[in-house]
Symmetry: C2
Subunit: 503 residues, 2 copies
């Protein structure tokens, strides 16, 4: 009954050891090489005294070392805690403390915030991937791969947690969604099958691998089906097209903002014929964008899916061009059930007039939020995970998301949780009321906008408030616009009416 | 994280509701029909007050009702306890008591022993599938399918026990191997994939569905991949060929004795061209039989696999004609590891001179023996299941079984555990020593032979001993030959030397 998610790497490596798994810049690594190097990481971690179930945080961009670390941690029977490289020092400290991380693997570029955060979290040992000088306060990641690969994969139980994936869910402080070996295996298997992924595919990994979409739907699917992965550390539209031409990429996965950017490019003279499919997720993609994209890239179909960190990642998917409904998130994948329920928890009939909350059940639902039984009980009721997203089902069983969560702001593919930003604003001595909403933005999909009412007699200008937020929040989170109002609009119960702010 | 094995039926029924799932005699049932009827069984069982985790025994031959019961029990979140229809009343009582069964579903033909056993087990309610008059002491199985199908599948946890499968393991009283929803899902998925099963396949179910080979490798694989199943309640070689011709069977799965029998047939004038593969398991199949079979049935490949109840079922398999090694049990399936270890538990090097015990680890290993922690600890050590079978690995990673367990007798595809027979013999007042071994038999593979030494001055003849056994053991178990010896051969430690009896 033992099962370790790293089995997906071992089995593909045994089937085709010399097949390239990763292309990164000038370098390529085969399945056998990644299997061996990640085995060394496992040995290195265990030699440090870490024990099965211990948490190891990994804060790396899309580099081969992400795979070494990820599979190494799994092979050792440890739990992967992927962190966003853009976190500030206090955010790093929060995540390390909350996850009980015993070790942090970071990148030279983020080492300042990472090491400061690790110190604040009580001195979590920090290893850095560095091409230049080793940053202060870190040890060399190379030390972790100096050990021998024992070839052993720790026989975790299938229901053991494999990944603690931080998300704020609907609101509040980030919580670690416990994703199990079983859950992640089932999700990459069902997603890849529905999508017809095979070892002949070459996928472009431009989505960050620390995010559920990149981790489960791109990395795990690739490894499970013995495909190849072209790592693109930073989204640059031209770099994506270069990768397609150079490596013969067949699958591109991205968030809508990436599609907007790719549409702006001149593709004259490029051979992009290898591309067969483009997966969109993370936010709703407008129908006109799909049509324009497919016109610009003939032979490519854009397929939209839906999922959350807690659903690891895919819950629904548009299977194929023939079965696709534009604007729909598709149908549940194998083994997953989706319902639309009213405020009373009862099923709503099909039809766009019957919008309710989307709830999900099946193998893809997280075990729970780490050490947060109340938040878990709130999120999973009677076995059904409440997504907090509003949508409806049509007569053919296709699902549609109407409002991508009441309040969530998705800026350039990153989730920004208004309440987290609001809590920072509320920390400023002059602030009386604060509300953060998304403002439509051509480039980023949404921009973070804050509305603030000052305390009577208090004195603070917009620049000071912006600087205050910038110091305390990751670059993608702090509000780009701050509007001062005498008072925020409120409903009869006194609750701030965000919809009035959105206009 | 919830997962119920019955999802394999629901998903295939949603994909192709009108596809035939079962052909039985003149009748065929579609996926939608089996999904609906099994849903009624689930409703019927829950209406009786059964609660998730409760055990329900099912003692049916290969009839559609087996599928209704099996998937109905699973859908209700209950645990299936498949029983051999040939068990005697005391054996039925033992299995019902040991498994804590709350209900028994049996067949008219076996109802006498079943009802007596159910009474002895404290009055377990017994439902019978009956085409004639309802047997005394039973209720009609039809009552269980009178309820409405709620459409609901109980969201069991993936590591919950789905099936309690009785086996004696290496020795002793039958023990219930706890097979989980996850384990059985993974096994049918990995087995079907390695074998290239698709919805175009039609499988002949001549192996009993209550046995792990028939249950997991035939029934579950069929349903998982949306194929069709031709039920053959009793192995008759001509009936198998008739089914192939009539339904276009593509896959035949059997034990070696079935292959021996099929080889004796005249196939002149028959169109058996649909058959593509024949799977052999349950015992070693001689190389000459494989060659003769493939000559007689052109276009068919015989592929040998290996597994036990505790490995649910497949552990290793010969993937394809190209990759097959005759006489080998093949290589481990996806996600399964196999080793050959010496008496000290260490790995033996490859080569036929290095015979050791075959041990297995992975998703396919049972949770344990129900309520038998000591037997479980004995069977699974450091996460590795000790098969008790002796074998070796060659340089290419193929495994070979040398001795199909030291003592086990396989009579016509049924496991006969010598110790169980010996215990009965030891129960006779005149018996001093007893040893049961397998004697090679052309028709059955092996026949059960007993060697007995009587107590000094005791008086019993061979006929009396045979009658004594026949009363207490299923028809396939009791010894057909009993030899009286003055004393059984023993080694220096006093242990009876069975190999001397085998000659």
């Amino acid at each position: 009954m033992s099962f370790n998610l790293a089995t997906i790497l071992r089995e593909s490596a045994e089937t085709a050891p010399d097949k390239p798994l990763v292309h990164a810049g000038e370098h390529s690594l085969t399945y056998a090489q990644v299997d061996e190097i990640s085995g060394r990481v496992a040995s290195g971690l265990l030699a440090l005294g870490l024990e099965p179930g211990d948490k190891v945080a990994i804060q790396l961009p899309n580099l081969p070392q992400f795979l070494f670390g990820y599979f190494g941690i799994l092979k050792a029977g440890l739990v992967v805690v992927p962190l966003n490289p853009l976190l500030t020092a206090p955010e790093v400290a929060y995540h390390l403390t909350d996850s009980d991380a015993r070790l942090l693997i970071t990148f030279e570029q983020f080492a300042a915030a990472a090491t400061q955060g690790a110190r604040e979290a009580g001195g979590v040992p920090t290893y850095a991937v560095a091409y230049g000088a080793l940053p202060d306060g870190t040890r060399d990641f190379e030390e972790l791969i100096a050990a021998e690969d024992s070839g052993e994969i720790h026989p975790t139980s299938s229901d053991d947690t494999a990944v603690l994936l931080y998300t704020s869910g609907t609101t509040g402080k980030p919580k670690g969604a416990e994703l199990t070996h079983f859950q992640l295996y089932m999700n990459c298997t069902a997603s890849g099958e529905v999508f017809g992924v095979s070892s002949a595919d070459i996928s472009a990994a431009v989505l960050p691998l620390f995010h559920v979409f990149g981790l489960s739907s791109v990395l795990n699917v690739t490894v499970r089906f013995g495909s190849s992965l072209v790592l693109i550390p930073r989204f640059e539209p031209e770099a994506v097209l270069d990768a397609v031409e150079r490596h013969g990429v067949t699958i591109f996965s991205g968030v809508p903002t990436m599609y907007f950017a790719l549409l702006q490019l001149d593709v004259t003279g490029r051979d992009l014929s290898s591309l067969r499919a483009a997966v969109s997720g993370g936010a709703s993609i407008p129908g006109e964008v799909i049509r324009a994209f497919e016109e610009k890239f003939p032979g490519v179909i854009v397929l939209e899916g839906y999922g959350l960190s807690e659903t690891a990642s895919t819950a629904t998917f548009n299977i194929s061009a023939e079965q696709r409904k534009v604007l729909s998130i598709g149908k549940p994948i194998w083994g997953v059930q989706v319902r639309v329920v009213g405020a009373d928890g009862r099923d709503l009939p099909p039809g766009e007039d019957h919008v309710g909350e989307i709830v999900v059940r099946g193998h893809n639902i997280m075990k729970g939020y780490y050490k947060k039984p109340e938040a878990t009980a709130e999120a999973i009721r009677d076995g059904w995970f409440r997504t907090g997203d509003l949508g409806y089902r049509d007569d053919d069983g296709y699902f549609f998301v109407v409002d991508r969560l009441k309040d969530l702001v998705i800026r350039g593919g990153y989730n920004v949780y208004p309440r987290e930003v609001e809590e920072v604003l509320y920390g400023h001595p002059a602030v009386a009321e604060a509300a953060v909403v998304g403002r439509p933005d051509d480039r980023l999909g949404e921009e973070v906008a804050a509305y603030v009412a000052l305390k009577p007699g208090a004195d603070a200008d917009v620049e000071a408030l912006a600087a205050y937020c910038r110091e305390r929040l990751a670059a993608y989170k702090y509000p780009r616009e701050i509007h001062l109002l005498p008072e925020l609009p409120k409903g009869s119960t006194g609750k701030i009416l965000k919809r009035r702010l959105r206009g």
